[in-house]
């Protein structure tokens, strides 16, 4: 990494955030995933406008950047809610009523997986295993792992979340 920039600088230079982050990785094309992760972390999603910027910075084609962004489930093309809840829907969680929990959550938040609540507070996403399978069912609330989730525990977690 070279050339550190503060979040504030990044925001004031938003259209340019992509090129600033790319420079941190010396504009190396093999760091594209790292760059996209950082971009999404700092801007909230991967904006359409940053794709050509990255292509130019890394000296690869726009089609290549586009291909990568669309291939990986992690990268979001649109802004997410203020919090992201990722619910595990893989086998070990299924064995502990994970699918019932998933349905209860959809009902409670009034959204389907992949959607954001009307108030913009929570984006609900599915993941396949968080490595918390011995404390299933599990989820990530923002970056925090939580195990043994019940519909009640989920409600408590949501109330605790700052709006």
């Amino acid at each position: 990494m070279s050339g550190k920039h503060t979040l504030l600088e990044l925001h004031s230079a938003k259209p340019d955030a992509a090129s600033i982050i790319a420079a941190r990785y010396d504009n190396k094309p093999d760091a594209l995933l790292e760059i996209l992760h950082d971009l999404q972390h700092e801007v909230g999603h991967v904006p359409e406008a940053s794709l050509p910027v990255l292509a130019k910075a890394l000296n690869i084609s726009r089609a290549e950047v586009h291909g990568v962004v669309t291939f990986y489930h992690d990268f979001r093309r649109k802004p997410a809610g203020r919090h992201v809840v990722k619910v595990c829907r893989a086998e070990a969680c299924q064995s502990m009523k994970g699918e019932e929990l998933a349905k209860a959550i959809e009902k409670s938040l009034k959204v389907k997986f992949g959607e954001t609540t009307a108030d913009g507070k929570v984006t609900l996403e599915a993941v396949y295993c968080l490595g918390l399978c011995s404390t299933a069912p599990a989820m990530l609330v923002d970056e925090r792992p939580v195990g043994r989730v019940s519909p009640q525990k989920f409600e408590t977690l949501m109330t605790e979340l700052a709006s």
């Binding site: 992760h37 290549e64 064995s95 404390t135």
Partner: protein, 456 residues
Amino acid sequence: MAYGPVEASDAASLFAAKFHEGGAHKLSLGLTEDIPFLKNQERLTFARCGITDPLSLEDYMKLGGFAGLKKALTMTGAAIVAEVSNSGLRGRGGAGFPTGIKWKTVHDVKADQKYVCCNADEGDSGTFADRMVMEGDPFMLIEGMVIAGVAGGATKGFIYIRSEYPDAINTMKDAIRIATAAKWLGQHIQGTEHSFSLEVRRGAGAYICGEETAMLDSLEGKRGMVRPKPPIPALQGLFGKPTIINNVLSFAAVPYILAEGGEAYKNYGMGRSRGTLPFQLAGNIKQGGLVEKAFGITLRQLIEDFGGGTATGKPLRAVQVGGPLGSYIPISQLDMPMDYETFAAASAMVGHGGVVVFDDSVDMAAQARFAMEFCAIESCGKCTPCRIGSTRGVEVIDRIVAGESREKNLLLLDDLCQTMIDGSLCAMGGLTPMPVQSAVRFWPEDFDRPMKVAAE
């Protein structure tokens, strides 16, 4: 004294009971070293995990850390490879390929640059041993990778960690920083002529990037597409250069092998499965978690003796071993010993050692459907049978459970599975039929009850 399972809401009463002085509490489990679950394990790889401060080099070295690397630094690459070969270590990532052979290939080939890549994508449901190594004993993984670098003549390494593991990512990054400052990484390791640097790269939520060649593409900043073999990665891997690729647990087993000798490791195990495997008990199990044991332990011992049966207390019905591409195993086969060959002979796989337990509320048709659905979601898209076949598979299973020409559609499902087995480049499409066909074979009644599924 150990206490658990502890929720945040238990904190106040634990303090009131003076748990830090070993006070009595309803969650008390007694002395940690006397807990049968831990006492009866054979922890070679996980010897330190949970005992040391993960980021304390001092702790690490006090309990034998870097003894293997110190020895390796005095040996030739060929001698290290021979020691690993002699241990009988086989890849812990799923395929069980002999690690020594892989390292020898990289050692023997000449190149201006070679790489060591650690596969920490751990995408299989029911597995978390890689995560535990990275969060609980990160220097052990670093040590194993440096030994691989010295053995193969590689000076640069990458750890590809799935993005679902934020804590593991941060711990590994910190550990790399600390190890570099202490000259266990970087230029002239411990004053020798060996150099090895290490970098963490994050995955981005694609299961297929656990397949080693897709992981290489991903490490190069591309879509994770599976590459045809040959060429094998040991000859043309990352950026086209010779590359040692191993799972976290394979690298983690190496420091012990170097420190204690391949022979000591080989003394554990059965048949051609040597050493120990960190089994992971997961799903509907009373006492889940990691159980490191020599190969040869039976599924029943793992689930009943260590796991204490199902969490719900209801009868056990099915066990999936080896991740989403592993077969579902019925109760009648619980006495099978955990051994690569025994499992293969039963059309099942040990894989990464994940054991997911289901009680009698499981609907095996729904599990078979999920296997196909997962393949459809995670396919890299290169092969038609995998990309399209899996979607067709979901539809056919839906028709079977709806009672629509059941016999004809069961035949069709079998055909489809065979096409996927024959026409897929990698194990994603090639092994998805395993959970599907095992579900049909052992629980045919679940594919014959339209009302239950229709109501879902």
